[in-house]
């Protein structure tokens, strides 16, 4: 993964560790900008249809589980805090605490996915998966409601995929920290994962009210 022979893990293309760190941070932010545009396009699509089919979307959103969504919001917000703590201890070169809080973050992330899984399962049981088995009453709202759930699954699915990738990256990072791998000697890798993780949380902060809390 990294040229270990180079002092302080500075890759050959960089002048010094400072330049390398800044490059990684700028790179991550640029990547997050593309992510914002990615989610932004789906959000825009959703909003256009929500305005066009307001009543139907309102009816459809009643079928979402607000308590579970709220629990998940709390879970993710807490995980942002624990991720911030992970970065905090990484900057102070305290691998034990770092590992602890990283594990808590992973556990919260997985809890989020489990709750999401229950929600998806309920939707499946209730016949709210778009497609041939989709059922919705009143029948008049069948089509816009299916559109709502199409967008619901597209948006939360895309988000859940990002959470899952986050968990996998954190798992790799945890192993590297545990074995004291040289690539995680400085805090930059953890900082980058942290940036990504906060982004994933922020997306949810937008998703939750957009989907679960539609005003009448």
């Amino acid at each position: 993964m990294v040229q270990e022979q180079a002092p302080q893990n500075v890759s050959l293309q960089f002048e010094d560790v400072h330049q390398q760190n800044e490059s990684y941070i700028v790179g991550m932010w640029t990547f997050l900008v593309t992510e914002i545009m990615f989610f932004g396009a789906v959000f825009a699509t959703y909003l256009v249809y929500r305005v066009a089919n307001h009543t139907a979307f309102w009816e459809a959103h009643l079928r979402l589980d607000i308590p579970l969504g709220f629990i998940n919001t709390c879970v993710l917000l807490t995980s942002s805090l624990t991720m911030a703590l992970t970065v905090h201890y990484a900057q102070r070169q305290m691998p034990k605490q770092q590992l602890l809080w990283l594990s808590v973050t992973m556990a919260l992330a997985m809890a989020f996915l489990v709750v999401k899984g229950f929600e998806y399962h309920h939707k499946y049981v209730e016949g709210l998966i778009p497609g041939p088995n989709f059922r919705f009453e009143p029948a008049e709202y069948f089509r816009p409601a299916q559109l709502f759930f199409s967008l619901y699954f597209a948006m939360t699915g895309l988000h859940a995929l990002h959470v899952l990738i986050g968990v996998l990256v954190m798992a790799v990072m945890a192993v590297l920290i545990a074995i004291r791998h040289s690539s995680v000697q400085d805090f930059i890798p953890v900082e980058l994962v942290g940036l990504y993780w906060h982004f994933v949380d922020i997306v949810w902060i937008f998703l939750f009210p957009l989907l679960y809390l539609i005003p009448r």
């Binding site: 089919n53 307001h54 009543t55 008049e140 709202y141």
Partner: protein, 335 residues
């Protein structure tokens, strides 16, 4: 190979106005292309390596030049913008009141035209010269685009939504009708002819039910005119009765539904407080998706007719509902 054509015909009031702007833009294009091209070539030769031309006073930048060659294109751009926008607003704004109303349905891969008096045409459109014509258009499948080069007009024909275009033809003759939005395999065969007739010829054509076609011999491939026995309105009335629309929509606002008499063009207040103008689009939506907009004071109980009516039949209903004026006698409604 027929003779070479270099200029399109001008056959609508809009055409000559567009062409004036077009040729102005051509002049701008030629002027700047020649100017820049000549300068580039002249500089390349005059200041070629080894030439003795003086290079004294060469500059690296000049604010006055930069400002002027920003402002000149900007000014030309703004002039053209205003010119074009005014022209467009006049041509694509609301059609005149006295416009002749014709309905067009696009489908893969033909144009279907319905005249108010019941004449139906495929891939042909007969219209009188000198009178505004308003086309209300919808597609039954994918996006098409109604394009008559001689009129300089083009309007996409969308599925699920009426689009309107209007024009006044000026010169009798036979003109190309194209589908301009790619619509699948036979896109380039989704063509037809627009026949502009002298008003007298047009009356003859109407009276003969579409049979007296002065240009018939030259008609394009696969075109045919057909006449239904009933006018569009009459067909709509029949359907209206058949579907028992009048059970809920009576001569006056009833318990279950508002009246359709005098509805067209009126501003209607909805349950959610918004106000909607009852145009063709609104009537179509209310037939197919009645609960999308529910009139204030009524319960959302009307069933949807989506999937039960094709665009042709929806058009007939729309034409009939449009024709119901508030003064129309109650007696005319046959239960």
């Amino acid at each position: 190979m027929k003779g070479v054509q270099l200029l399109p015909e001008q056959a609508s009031t809009f055409a000559s106005q567009v062409d004036l702007l077009f040729w102005f833009l051509v002049a701008v294009t030629v002027f700047f292309t020649v100017l820049i091209g000549a300068l580039v070539v002249y500089f390349a030769l005059r200041y070629r390596r080894g030439s003795t031309a003086s290079r004294a006073g060469a500059k690296e930048t000049d604010l006055r030049l930069e400002i002027s060659w920003s402002l000149i294109p900007l000014t030309i751009g703004l002039i053209v913008f205003v010119w074009a926008a005014k022209l467009y607003a006049s041509a694509y704004g609301p059609p005149p009141e006295n416009a002749l109303e014709i309905f067009v349905i696009g489908k893969q891969w033909m144009w279907h035209v319905q005249h108010p008096n019941g004449i139906r045409e495929n891939n042909e459109l007969h219209i009188p010269a000198g009178r505004p014509v308003k086309l209300t258009m919808i597609s039954q499948d994918v996006i098409h685009s109604f394009f008559v080069p001689a009129f300089r007009i083009k309007r996409d024909v969308l599925p699920g939504k009426y689009n309107v275009v209007w024009f006044t033809a000026t010169k009798p003759g036979k003109y190309h009708l194209f589908c301009a939005e790619y619509c699948g395999t036979q896109h380039s065969r989704m063509i037809g002819w627009v026949y502009v007739l002298e008003p007298a010829d047009y009356e003859k054509w109407l009276a003969s039910g579409g049979e007296a076609r002065p240009y018939a011999t030259a008609s394009g491939a696969g075109t045919m005119a057909g006449v239904s026995t009933a006018s569009l309105k009459e067909a709509g009335e029949k359907l209206y009765t058949q579907l028992r629309c009048n059970a809920c929509h009576g001569a006056t606002d009833g318990q279950r539904g508002p009246t359709h008499y005098g509805l067209f063009g009126k501003k209607v207040k909805m349950r959610d407080g918004t106000v909607v103008t009852a145009d063709e689009e609104y009537i179509r939506e209310s037939i197919l998706r009645p609960l999308a907009k529910v009139v204030d004071g009524y319960e959302p109980i009307m069933p949807s007719y989506e999937g039960l009516l094709n665009e042709e039949r929806v058009l007939q209903l729309v034409a009939y509902i449009k024709s119901l004026e508030s003064s129309t006698k109650v007696a005319e409604v046959k239960p």
